[in-house]
Amino acid sequence: MKKSLLLLALGIFAMGRIAGAGDLTGTISLKGTPPAEASFASKMQDDPNCSVLYAGKYPTTRFYVVGANGELADVVVSLQGISGKSTGASAAPVTMDQKGALYVPQMVAIQTGQKLIVKNSDTFIHNVHTTPTANPESNQVQMGGGADLTYTFDKPEMFLKFKCDVHPWMFAWVSVFDHPYFALSGPDGKFTIKNVPPGKYTLAATHRKLGTQTAEIEVKDDGAAQNFTFEVK
Protein backbone atom coordinates (compact mmCIF):
# COMPACT_ATOMS: atom_id res chain seq x y z
CA MET A 1 0.00 0.00 0.00
CA LYS A 2 2.71 2.45 1.01
CA LYS A 3 4.79 1.40 -1.93
CA SER A 4 2.03 1.92 -4.44
CA LEU A 5 1.36 5.42 -3.05
CA LEU A 6 5.02 6.21 -3.50
CA LEU A 7 4.90 4.88 -7.02
CA LEU A 8 1.81 6.94 -7.75
CA ALA A 9 3.54 10.04 -6.41
CA LEU A 10 6.56 9.28 -8.54
CA GLY A 11 4.31 8.76 -11.53
CA ILE A 12 2.61 12.11 -11.11
CA PHE A 13 5.97 13.79 -10.67
CA ALA A 14 7.22 12.13 -13.86
CA MET A 15 4.13 13.26 -15.79
CA GLY A 16 4.80 16.79 -14.68
CA ARG A 17 8.29 16.45 -16.06
CA ILE A 18 7.09 15.02 -19.36
CA ALA A 19 4.53 17.82 -19.75
CA GLY A 20 7.63 19.88 -19.09
CA ALA A 21 6.26 23.11 -17.77
CA GLY A 22 7.43 24.96 -14.72
CA ASP A 23 6.34 28.18 -13.10
CA LEU A 24 8.39 31.30 -13.50
CA THR A 25 8.29 33.40 -10.36
CA GLY A 26 9.95 36.44 -8.90
CA THR A 27 9.64 39.60 -6.89
CA ILE A 28 9.81 43.17 -8.11
CA SER A 29 11.17 45.84 -5.83
CA LEU A 30 11.69 49.55 -5.94
CA LYS A 31 14.73 51.42 -4.63
CA GLY A 32 14.43 55.09 -3.83
CA THR A 33 11.48 57.33 -3.07
CA PRO A 34 8.96 57.73 -5.87
CA PRO A 35 7.57 61.20 -6.67
CA ALA A 36 4.42 62.12 -4.73
CA GLU A 37 1.15 61.01 -6.32
CA ALA A 38 -1.36 63.66 -7.39
CA SER A 39 -4.59 64.09 -5.51
CA PHE A 40 -7.79 64.04 -7.54
CA ALA A 41 -9.29 66.51 -5.06
CA SER A 42 -9.22 69.59 -7.27
CA LYS A 43 -11.00 67.74 -10.07
CA MET A 44 -13.31 65.56 -8.01
CA GLN A 45 -14.66 68.25 -5.73
CA ASP A 46 -16.38 69.99 -8.64
CA ASP A 47 -18.27 66.81 -9.39
CA PRO A 48 -21.45 66.39 -7.35
CA ASN A 49 -21.28 62.57 -7.45
CA CYS A 50 -17.66 62.35 -6.41
CA SER A 51 -17.79 65.01 -3.71
CA VAL A 52 -20.53 62.99 -2.01
CA LEU A 53 -18.80 59.65 -2.57
CA TYR A 54 -15.48 60.69 -1.14
CA ALA A 55 -16.62 63.36 1.33
CA GLY A 56 -13.35 65.27 1.40
CA LYS A 57 -11.05 62.21 1.34
CA TYR A 58 -10.14 62.04 -2.30
CA PRO A 59 -8.05 59.33 -3.93
CA THR A 60 -4.78 59.98 -5.76
CA THR A 61 -3.04 58.63 -8.81
CA ARG A 62 -1.49 55.20 -8.18
CA PHE A 63 1.49 55.14 -10.49
CA TYR A 64 3.84 53.78 -7.85
CA VAL A 65 2.07 51.11 -5.84
CA VAL A 66 4.82 50.29 -3.35
CA GLY A 67 4.78 48.12 -0.21
CA ALA A 68 6.52 48.85 3.09
CA ASN A 69 9.70 47.10 1.97
CA GLY A 70 9.76 48.40 -1.58
CA GLU A 71 7.55 45.68 -3.11
CA LEU A 72 6.40 47.11 -6.44
CA ALA A 73 2.98 46.24 -7.85
CA ASP A 74 1.51 46.82 -11.31
CA VAL A 75 4.63 45.77 -13.18
CA VAL A 76 3.96 43.83 -16.39
CA VAL A 77 6.29 40.84 -16.69
CA SER A 78 6.41 38.88 -19.94
CA LEU A 79 8.51 36.57 -22.07
CA GLN A 80 9.87 38.27 -25.16
CA GLY A 81 10.04 37.04 -28.73
CA ILE A 82 7.01 34.77 -28.59
CA SER A 83 4.09 35.36 -30.89
CA GLY A 84 1.15 33.61 -32.46
CA LYS A 85 0.64 31.44 -29.38
CA SER A 86 -2.50 33.10 -28.05
CA THR A 87 -4.97 30.93 -26.18
CA GLY A 88 -7.11 33.99 -25.55
CA ALA A 89 -10.19 32.72 -27.36
CA SER A 90 -10.62 29.91 -24.83
CA ALA A 91 -9.29 31.78 -21.78
CA ALA A 92 -11.65 32.99 -19.06
CA PRO A 93 -12.79 36.61 -19.48
CA VAL A 94 -11.18 39.31 -17.35
CA THR A 95 -13.37 41.90 -15.67
CA MET A 96 -12.63 45.55 -15.06
CA ASP A 97 -15.09 47.63 -13.07
CA GLN A 98 -15.80 51.34 -12.84
CA LYS A 99 -16.44 52.09 -9.23
CA GLY A 100 -16.39 55.43 -7.45
CA ALA A 101 -15.32 56.99 -10.73
CA LEU A 102 -12.15 54.89 -10.79
CA TYR A 103 -11.16 51.86 -12.81
CA VAL A 104 -10.73 48.77 -10.63
CA PRO A 105 -8.20 47.34 -11.33
CA GLN A 106 -6.32 50.07 -13.11
CA MET A 107 -3.69 47.72 -14.51
CA VAL A 108 -4.76 44.68 -16.55
CA ALA A 109 -3.03 42.17 -18.82
CA ILE A 110 -4.86 39.90 -21.27
CA GLN A 111 -4.28 37.90 -24.42
CA THR A 112 -5.35 38.73 -27.93
CA GLY A 113 -8.86 37.39 -28.47
CA GLN A 114 -9.50 37.17 -24.73
CA LYS A 115 -12.65 38.89 -23.52
CA LEU A 116 -12.33 41.94 -21.33
CA ILE A 117 -15.62 42.82 -19.64
CA VAL A 118 -16.07 46.41 -18.53
CA LYS A 119 -18.73 46.98 -15.87
CA ASN A 120 -20.21 50.15 -14.46
CA SER A 121 -21.06 49.75 -10.77
CA ASP A 122 -21.61 53.50 -10.45
CA THR A 123 -25.01 55.12 -10.59
CA PHE A 124 -23.80 57.71 -13.09
CA ILE A 125 -22.57 57.94 -16.67
CA HIS A 126 -19.11 57.02 -17.92
CA ASN A 127 -17.82 56.99 -21.44
CA VAL A 128 -15.39 54.16 -22.08
CA HIS A 129 -12.79 55.47 -24.46
CA THR A 130 -9.87 53.35 -25.64
CA THR A 131 -6.84 55.09 -27.14
CA PRO A 132 -4.76 52.22 -28.53
CA THR A 133 -1.71 52.45 -30.77
CA ALA A 134 -2.05 49.12 -32.61
CA ASN A 135 -5.74 48.26 -32.25
CA PRO A 136 -8.70 50.34 -33.46
CA GLU A 137 -9.88 53.15 -31.18
CA SER A 138 -13.40 53.11 -29.72
CA ASN A 139 -15.53 55.32 -27.53
CA GLN A 140 -18.75 54.00 -26.02
CA VAL A 141 -21.58 55.21 -23.83
CA GLN A 142 -22.14 53.46 -20.50
CA MET A 143 -25.04 54.74 -18.43
CA GLY A 144 -25.14 54.30 -14.64
CA GLY A 145 -25.61 50.58 -13.91
CA GLY A 146 -25.81 50.03 -17.66
CA ALA A 147 -25.12 46.79 -19.51
CA ASP A 148 -21.55 45.48 -19.48
CA LEU A 149 -19.32 46.26 -22.43
CA THR A 150 -17.16 43.52 -23.90
CA TYR A 151 -13.83 44.13 -25.57
CA THR A 152 -11.37 41.93 -27.43
CA PHE A 153 -8.16 43.06 -29.07
CA ASP A 154 -6.52 41.43 -32.08
CA LYS A 155 -3.07 42.90 -31.86
CA PRO A 156 -0.57 42.79 -29.01
CA GLU A 157 0.06 46.17 -27.41
CA MET A 158 1.58 47.44 -24.15
CA PHE A 159 -0.46 49.72 -21.90
CA LEU A 160 -3.45 50.20 -24.15
CA LYS A 161 -5.15 53.10 -22.44
CA PHE A 162 -8.77 53.16 -21.31
CA LYS A 163 -10.08 56.51 -20.20
CA CYS A 164 -13.25 58.30 -19.27
CA ASP A 165 -13.57 61.85 -20.53
CA VAL A 166 -16.48 62.59 -18.21
CA HIS A 167 -14.08 62.08 -15.29
CA PRO A 168 -10.71 63.17 -16.63
CA TRP A 169 -8.74 61.43 -13.87
CA MET A 170 -10.05 57.94 -14.81
CA PHE A 171 -7.47 55.79 -16.58
CA ALA A 172 -6.72 52.10 -16.89
CA TRP A 173 -3.97 50.37 -18.84
CA VAL A 174 -4.52 47.04 -20.52
CA SER A 175 -1.50 45.19 -21.91
CA VAL A 176 -2.33 42.70 -24.66
CA PHE A 177 -0.13 39.70 -25.50
CA ASP A 178 -0.49 37.08 -28.20
CA HIS A 179 0.74 34.33 -25.87
CA PRO A 180 -0.11 33.31 -22.30
CA TYR A 181 3.35 33.93 -20.80
CA PHE A 182 2.89 37.13 -18.84
CA ALA A 183 1.86 38.27 -15.37
CA LEU A 184 1.32 41.37 -13.27
CA SER A 185 3.14 41.88 -10.00
CA GLY A 186 0.82 42.02 -7.01
CA PRO A 187 0.88 44.28 -3.94
CA ASP A 188 3.56 41.95 -2.49
CA GLY A 189 5.72 42.58 -5.56
CA LYS A 190 5.41 38.92 -6.57
CA PHE A 191 4.54 37.54 -9.97
CA THR A 192 4.00 34.04 -11.35
CA ILE A 193 3.96 33.02 -14.98
CA LYS A 194 2.53 29.53 -15.08
CA ASN A 195 3.49 26.54 -17.23
CA VAL A 196 6.44 27.91 -19.12
CA PRO A 197 8.00 25.29 -21.42
CA PRO A 198 11.68 24.74 -20.57
CA GLY A 199 14.15 26.79 -22.57
CA LYS A 200 16.12 30.01 -22.73
CA TYR A 201 14.19 33.28 -22.81
CA THR A 202 14.41 36.99 -22.40
CA LEU A 203 12.17 38.10 -19.59
CA ALA A 204 11.03 41.72 -19.53
CA ALA A 205 9.54 43.68 -16.65
CA THR A 206 7.86 46.97 -17.54
CA HIS A 207 6.59 49.67 -15.21
CA ARG A 208 4.53 52.41 -16.82
CA LYS A 209 6.64 55.19 -15.37
CA LEU A 210 9.98 53.48 -14.79
CA GLY A 211 10.49 51.78 -18.13
CA THR A 212 11.61 48.25 -18.96
CA GLN A 213 14.25 45.92 -17.55
CA THR A 214 15.19 42.61 -19.13
CA ALA A 215 16.95 39.47 -17.96
CA GLU A 216 18.24 36.41 -19.83
CA ILE A 217 16.82 33.36 -18.08
CA GLU A 218 16.72 29.62 -18.44
CA VAL A 219 13.53 27.85 -17.45
CA LYS A 220 14.14 24.30 -16.28
CA ASP A 221 11.57 21.57 -15.75
CA ASP A 222 10.86 22.84 -12.29
CA GLY A 223 10.58 26.44 -13.40
CA ALA A 224 12.80 29.38 -12.68
CA ALA A 225 12.99 32.50 -10.54
CA GLN A 226 14.03 35.98 -11.49
CA ASN A 227 13.77 39.18 -9.47
CA PHE A 228 13.90 42.76 -10.72
CA THR A 229 14.80 45.96 -8.94
CA PHE A 230 13.72 49.32 -10.28
CA GLU A 231 15.27 52.51 -9.11
CA VAL A 232 13.98 56.08 -8.91
CA LYS A 233 16.77 58.54 -9.43
Binding site: H129, N139, Q140, V141, P168, F171
Partner: protein, 329 residues
Protein backbone atom coordinates in the same frame (compact mmCIF):
# COMPACT_ATOMS: atom_id res chain seq x y z
CA UNK B 1 -21.99 101.08 -53.36
CA UNK B 2 -24.74 103.24 -51.88
CA UNK B 3 -24.99 101.04 -48.86
CA UNK B 4 -26.73 102.75 -45.93
CA UNK B 5 -25.78 102.00 -42.35
CA UNK B 6 -28.30 99.55 -40.91
CA UNK B 7 -27.98 99.54 -37.10
CA UNK B 8 -30.10 96.40 -36.60
CA UNK B 9 -28.00 94.45 -39.08
CA UNK B 10 -24.77 95.77 -37.56
CA UNK B 11 -25.74 94.88 -34.01
CA UNK B 12 -26.91 91.46 -35.12
CA UNK B 13 -23.49 90.90 -36.73
CA UNK B 14 -21.89 92.02 -33.46
CA UNK B 15 -24.08 89.59 -31.53
CA UNK B 16 -22.94 86.79 -33.82
CA UNK B 17 -19.30 87.79 -33.36
CA UNK B 18 -19.62 87.92 -29.58
CA UNK B 19 -21.37 84.53 -29.51
CA UNK B 20 -18.56 83.13 -31.64
CA UNK B 21 -15.96 84.51 -29.24
CA UNK B 22 -17.75 82.89 -26.31
CA UNK B 23 -17.98 79.66 -28.30
CA UNK B 24 -14.20 79.69 -28.72
CA UNK B 25 -13.90 80.13 -24.97
CA UNK B 26 -16.25 77.22 -24.37
CA UNK B 27 -14.34 75.14 -26.92
CA UNK B 28 -11.15 76.05 -25.05
CA UNK B 29 -12.77 74.81 -21.83
CA UNK B 30 -13.68 71.51 -23.50
CA UNK B 31 -10.03 70.92 -24.40
CA UNK B 32 -8.68 72.27 -21.12
CA UNK B 33 -10.90 69.78 -19.28
CA UNK B 34 -9.89 67.01 -21.71
CA UNK B 35 -13.60 66.58 -22.36
CA UNK B 36 -13.65 66.45 -26.16
CA UNK B 37 -14.65 62.79 -26.17
CA UNK B 38 -16.92 62.83 -23.14
CA UNK B 39 -20.00 62.49 -25.32
CA UNK B 40 -19.29 59.52 -27.58
CA UNK B 41 -22.27 60.02 -29.89
CA UNK B 42 -23.26 62.78 -32.32
CA UNK B 43 -25.60 64.42 -33.28
CA UNK B 44 -27.35 62.74 -30.35
CA UNK B 45 -26.06 63.06 -26.76
CA UNK B 46 -26.01 59.76 -24.84
CA UNK B 47 -28.82 58.65 -27.10
CA UNK B 48 -30.96 61.74 -26.41
CA UNK B 49 -31.98 64.42 -28.86
CA UNK B 50 -29.32 66.97 -27.99
CA UNK B 51 -31.84 69.69 -27.08
CA UNK B 52 -33.65 67.34 -24.68
CA UNK B 53 -30.66 65.87 -22.84
CA UNK B 54 -31.64 66.00 -19.12
CA UNK B 55 -29.73 68.56 -17.06
CA UNK B 56 -28.99 66.10 -14.23
CA UNK B 57 -26.78 64.21 -16.66
CA UNK B 58 -24.62 67.25 -17.48
CA UNK B 59 -21.86 65.93 -15.23
CA UNK B 60 -18.08 66.25 -15.39
CA UNK B 61 -16.71 66.66 -18.88
CA UNK B 62 -20.17 66.27 -20.41
CA UNK B 63 -21.10 69.71 -19.09
CA UNK B 64 -18.49 71.41 -21.26
CA UNK B 65 -18.91 69.27 -24.35
CA UNK B 66 -22.69 69.41 -24.29
CA UNK B 67 -22.93 73.16 -23.70
CA UNK B 68 -20.35 73.64 -26.44
CA UNK B 69 -22.64 71.77 -28.82
CA UNK B 70 -25.65 73.82 -27.76
CA UNK B 71 -23.90 77.18 -28.12
CA UNK B 72 -22.52 76.00 -31.47
CA UNK B 73 -26.10 75.39 -32.62
CA UNK B 74 -26.99 78.94 -31.57
CA UNK B 75 -24.04 80.35 -33.52
CA UNK B 76 -25.03 78.21 -36.50
CA UNK B 77 -28.54 79.64 -36.37
CA UNK B 78 -27.33 83.24 -35.96
CA UNK B 79 -24.91 82.84 -38.87
CA UNK B 80 -27.65 81.45 -41.11
CA UNK B 81 -29.94 84.38 -40.30
CA UNK B 82 -27.07 86.82 -40.84
CA UNK B 83 -26.26 85.32 -44.25
CA UNK B 84 -29.88 85.63 -45.38
CA UNK B 85 -30.17 89.14 -43.97
CA UNK B 86 -26.99 90.29 -45.72
CA UNK B 87 -28.20 88.75 -48.97
CA UNK B 88 -31.53 90.52 -48.80
CA UNK B 89 -30.63 93.88 -47.31
CA UNK B 90 -27.06 94.72 -48.15
CA UNK B 91 -26.37 96.17 -51.56
CA UNK B 92 -22.74 95.05 -51.67
CA UNK B 93 -22.37 91.87 -53.75
CA UNK B 94 -19.10 90.78 -52.08
CA UNK B 95 -20.65 90.92 -48.67
CA UNK B 96 -23.39 88.53 -49.80
CA UNK B 97 -20.70 85.99 -50.55
CA UNK B 98 -18.94 86.69 -47.30
CA UNK B 99 -22.21 85.82 -45.53
CA UNK B 100 -22.52 82.60 -47.55
CA UNK B 101 -18.87 81.85 -46.80
CA UNK B 102 -19.51 82.20 -43.07
CA UNK B 103 -22.56 79.97 -43.37
CA UNK B 104 -20.60 77.24 -45.18
CA UNK B 105 -17.73 77.51 -42.72
CA UNK B 106 -19.98 77.11 -39.69
CA UNK B 107 -21.56 74.00 -41.25
CA UNK B 108 -18.13 72.59 -42.07
CA UNK B 109 -17.01 73.33 -38.53
CA UNK B 110 -20.00 71.48 -37.07
CA UNK B 111 -19.36 68.46 -39.27
CA UNK B 112 -15.67 68.51 -38.40
CA UNK B 113 -16.55 68.49 -34.72
CA UNK B 114 -19.08 65.71 -35.25
CA UNK B 115 -16.72 63.51 -37.25
CA UNK B 116 -14.05 63.97 -34.66
CA UNK B 117 -16.43 62.46 -32.12
CA UNK B 118 -17.92 59.79 -34.37
CA UNK B 119 -14.65 58.52 -35.79
CA UNK B 120 -12.63 59.07 -32.60
CA UNK B 121 -10.26 61.24 -34.59
CA UNK B 122 -8.90 63.37 -31.86
CA UNK B 123 -6.40 65.10 -34.16
CA UNK B 124 -9.36 66.62 -36.03
CA UNK B 125 -9.40 68.92 -33.01
CA UNK B 126 -6.47 70.75 -34.62
CA UNK B 127 -8.25 71.78 -37.85
CA UNK B 128 -11.40 72.32 -35.75
CA UNK B 129 -9.44 74.83 -33.66
CA UNK B 130 -7.96 76.47 -36.77
CA UNK B 131 -11.37 76.81 -38.47
CA UNK B 132 -12.74 78.27 -35.23
CA UNK B 133 -10.18 81.07 -35.28
CA UNK B 134 -10.77 81.72 -38.98
CA UNK B 135 -14.51 81.81 -38.41
CA UNK B 136 -14.09 84.31 -35.57
CA UNK B 137 -12.04 86.57 -37.84
CA UNK B 138 -14.75 86.26 -40.50
CA UNK B 139 -17.70 87.07 -38.23
CA UNK B 140 -15.84 90.05 -36.74
CA UNK B 141 -14.90 91.29 -40.19
CA UNK B 142 -18.56 91.15 -41.23
CA UNK B 143 -19.42 93.20 -38.14
CA UNK B 144 -16.73 95.71 -39.17
CA UNK B 145 -18.01 95.89 -42.76
CA UNK B 146 -21.55 96.61 -41.61
CA UNK B 147 -20.44 99.21 -39.06
CA UNK B 148 -21.24 102.89 -39.27
CA UNK B 149 -17.55 103.74 -39.51
CA UNK B 150 -16.94 101.44 -42.47
CA UNK B 151 -19.96 102.65 -44.40
CA UNK B 152 -19.62 106.34 -43.64
CA UNK B 153 -15.83 106.52 -43.82
CA UNK B 154 -16.03 107.18 -47.55
CA UNK B 155 -17.57 110.55 -46.83
CA UNK B 156 -14.71 111.79 -44.69
CA UNK B 157 -11.09 112.53 -45.40
CA UNK B 158 -8.99 109.56 -44.35
CA UNK B 159 -5.35 109.48 -43.30
CA UNK B 160 -3.14 107.23 -45.35
CA UNK B 161 -1.30 104.35 -43.60
CA UNK B 162 2.15 103.64 -45.09
CA UNK B 163 2.45 100.38 -46.96
CA UNK B 164 5.44 99.16 -44.89
CA UNK B 165 3.44 99.44 -41.68
CA UNK B 166 0.42 97.67 -43.15
CA UNK B 167 2.51 94.76 -44.45
CA UNK B 168 4.30 94.53 -41.14
CA UNK B 169 1.01 94.15 -39.29
CA UNK B 170 -0.24 91.60 -41.82
CA UNK B 171 2.89 89.47 -41.46
CA UNK B 172 2.73 89.54 -37.67
CA UNK B 173 -0.95 88.57 -37.87
CA UNK B 174 -0.12 85.62 -40.12
CA UNK B 175 2.58 84.62 -37.63
CA UNK B 176 -0.03 84.70 -34.85
CA UNK B 177 -2.22 82.39 -36.93
CA UNK B 178 0.71 79.99 -37.35
CA UNK B 179 1.24 80.23 -33.59
CA UNK B 180 -2.39 79.20 -33.06
CA UNK B 181 -1.82 76.14 -35.26
CA UNK B 182 1.29 75.18 -33.28
CA UNK B 183 -0.63 75.71 -30.06
CA UNK B 184 -3.62 73.66 -31.19
CA UNK B 185 -1.26 70.81 -32.11
CA UNK B 186 0.27 71.07 -28.65
CA UNK B 187 -3.07 70.91 -26.95
CA UNK B 188 -4.25 67.90 -28.87
CA UNK B 189 -1.34 65.75 -27.72
CA UNK B 190 -3.19 65.17 -24.42
CA UNK B 191 0.11 64.58 -22.73
CA UNK B 192 0.03 67.27 -20.13
CA UNK B 193 2.75 69.91 -20.15
CA UNK B 194 5.70 68.80 -22.25
CA UNK B 195 7.90 71.30 -20.40
CA UNK B 196 6.99 72.03 -16.83
CA UNK B 197 9.08 75.10 -16.00
CA UNK B 198 9.30 78.64 -17.35
CA UNK B 199 11.20 80.83 -18.31
CA UNK B 200 13.81 78.05 -18.45
CA UNK B 201 12.97 74.62 -19.85
CA UNK B 202 13.96 71.74 -17.57
CA UNK B 203 16.40 74.17 -16.00
CA UNK B 204 18.12 74.93 -19.31
CA UNK B 205 17.79 77.43 -22.10
CA UNK B 206 17.54 74.55 -24.55
CA UNK B 207 16.83 71.22 -22.85
CA UNK B 208 18.21 67.85 -23.95
CA UNK B 209 15.81 65.71 -25.98
CA UNK B 210 17.82 62.49 -26.15
CA UNK B 211 15.85 59.32 -25.40
CA UNK B 212 17.55 59.11 -21.96
CA UNK B 213 16.61 62.69 -21.16
CA UNK B 214 12.99 62.12 -22.23
CA UNK B 215 12.79 58.95 -20.11
CA UNK B 216 14.12 60.93 -17.17
CA UNK B 217 11.53 63.72 -17.68
CA UNK B 218 8.79 61.11 -17.79
CA UNK B 219 9.95 59.38 -14.62
CA UNK B 220 10.29 62.60 -12.66
CA UNK B 221 7.51 64.76 -14.03
CA UNK B 222 5.49 66.19 -11.18
CA UNK B 223 2.41 64.18 -10.43
CA UNK B 224 -0.78 65.57 -11.81
CA UNK B 225 0.26 64.91 -15.36
CA UNK B 226 -2.23 62.17 -16.08
CA UNK B 227 -1.88 61.87 -19.83
CA UNK B 228 0.45 59.96 -22.09
CA UNK B 229 4.20 60.03 -21.60
CA UNK B 230 5.78 63.01 -23.35
CA UNK B 231 7.98 62.74 -26.43
CA UNK B 232 10.87 64.73 -27.86
CA UNK B 233 8.49 66.09 -30.51
CA UNK B 234 6.26 67.57 -27.83
CA UNK B 235 9.17 69.17 -26.01
CA UNK B 236 10.39 70.75 -29.24
CA UNK B 237 6.88 71.89 -30.10
CA UNK B 238 6.57 73.80 -26.85
CA UNK B 239 10.02 75.32 -27.35
CA UNK B 240 8.96 76.52 -30.80
CA UNK B 241 5.73 77.91 -29.33
CA UNK B 242 7.82 79.93 -26.89
CA UNK B 243 10.24 81.19 -29.54
CA UNK B 244 7.43 82.19 -31.90
CA UNK B 245 5.76 83.95 -28.96
CA UNK B 246 8.83 86.13 -28.38
CA UNK B 247 9.06 86.88 -32.10
CA UNK B 248 5.39 87.90 -32.19
CA UNK B 249 5.86 90.08 -29.13
CA UNK B 250 8.76 91.92 -30.76
CA UNK B 251 6.76 92.21 -33.98
CA UNK B 252 3.78 93.76 -32.21
CA UNK B 253 6.03 96.08 -30.19
CA UNK B 254 7.61 97.20 -33.47
CA UNK B 255 4.13 97.72 -34.96
CA UNK B 256 3.14 99.96 -32.04
CA UNK B 257 6.41 101.90 -32.29
CA UNK B 258 6.09 102.31 -36.05
CA UNK B 259 2.46 103.39 -35.80
CA UNK B 260 3.40 106.04 -33.29
CA UNK B 261 6.16 107.32 -35.51
CA UNK B 262 4.21 107.31 -38.78
CA UNK B 263 0.70 108.14 -37.60
CA UNK B 264 1.30 110.02 -34.37
CA UNK B 265 0.28 109.11 -30.86
CA UNK B 266 -3.28 110.37 -31.28
CA UNK B 267 -4.25 108.30 -34.25
CA UNK B 268 -6.84 105.65 -33.30
CA UNK B 269 -4.76 103.02 -35.10
CA UNK B 270 -1.77 103.86 -32.90
CA UNK B 271 -3.93 103.40 -29.83
CA UNK B 272 -5.25 100.16 -31.25
CA UNK B 273 -1.66 98.97 -31.83
CA UNK B 274 -0.78 99.80 -28.23
CA UNK B 275 -3.82 97.81 -27.13
CA UNK B 276 -2.49 94.96 -29.26
CA UNK B 277 0.83 95.17 -27.42
CA UNK B 278 -0.99 95.06 -24.09
CA UNK B 279 -2.85 91.94 -25.25
CA UNK B 280 0.44 90.29 -26.18
CA UNK B 281 2.05 91.09 -22.86
CA UNK B 282 -0.98 89.63 -21.15
CA UNK B 283 -0.78 86.58 -23.40
CA UNK B 284 2.82 85.88 -22.45
CA UNK B 285 1.96 86.25 -18.76
CA UNK B 286 -0.94 83.83 -19.28
CA UNK B 287 1.37 81.41 -21.14
CA UNK B 288 3.71 81.48 -18.16
CA UNK B 289 0.76 81.09 -15.79
CA UNK B 290 -0.38 78.06 -17.80
CA UNK B 291 2.96 76.44 -17.00
CA UNK B 292 3.15 77.55 -13.37
CA UNK B 293 -0.39 76.39 -12.65
CA UNK B 294 0.33 73.03 -14.32
CA UNK B 295 -2.33 73.86 -16.90
CA UNK B 296 -5.21 74.95 -14.67
CA UNK B 297 -8.24 74.79 -16.93
CA UNK B 298 -9.37 78.39 -16.39
CA UNK B 299 -5.91 79.92 -16.92
CA UNK B 300 -5.32 77.84 -20.03
CA UNK B 301 -8.71 78.77 -21.45
CA UNK B 302 -8.00 82.48 -20.88
CA UNK B 303 -4.74 81.94 -22.74
CA UNK B 304 -6.75 80.52 -25.68
CA UNK B 305 -9.19 83.45 -25.63
CA UNK B 306 -6.54 86.15 -25.44
CA UNK B 307 -4.70 84.33 -28.24
CA UNK B 308 -7.84 84.58 -30.37
CA UNK B 309 -8.18 88.27 -29.46
CA UNK B 310 -4.58 88.90 -30.54
CA UNK B 311 -5.24 87.36 -33.94
CA UNK B 312 -8.44 89.33 -34.29
CA UNK B 313 -6.86 92.64 -33.30
CA UNK B 314 -4.13 92.25 -35.92
CA UNK B 315 -6.66 91.39 -38.62
CA UNK B 316 -9.08 94.22 -37.82
CA UNK B 317 -6.19 96.71 -37.60
CA UNK B 318 -5.04 95.69 -41.04
CA UNK B 319 -8.53 95.89 -42.54
CA UNK B 320 -9.10 99.38 -41.14
CA UNK B 321 -5.67 100.49 -42.35
CA UNK B 322 -6.42 99.14 -45.84
CA UNK B 323 -9.74 100.94 -45.93
CA UNK B 324 -8.27 104.23 -44.80
CA UNK B 325 -5.45 104.06 -47.29
CA UNK B 326 -7.87 103.26 -50.11
CA UNK B 327 -10.07 106.22 -49.23
CA UNK B 328 -7.12 108.55 -48.70
CA UNK B 329 -6.40 107.87 -52.36
Amino acid sequence: MNQKYNPALFWFAVLNAVATFLLIGLGGLVTSHEAGMSVPDWPTTYGYNMFLFPVDKWIGGIFYEHSHRLLASVVGLLTTILAVWLWLQDSRKWIHWLGIGAFLLVIAQGILGGLRVRWQLDWLGVPHGAVAQTFLVLTCSIALFTSRWWIHSAAEKQIYVPRGLRSHVLYVTILIFIQLLIAATMRHQHAGLAITDFPLAYGKIWPATTPEAIAHYNATRPAGTFGNPITAFQVNLQLIHRLVAYTIFLGVAAAAGLARKKLGGRDPLTKFAVFWLVLLSLQIVLGAATIWSNKAADVTTLHVMVGASALLTGMLWWLVAQRRTRLAG
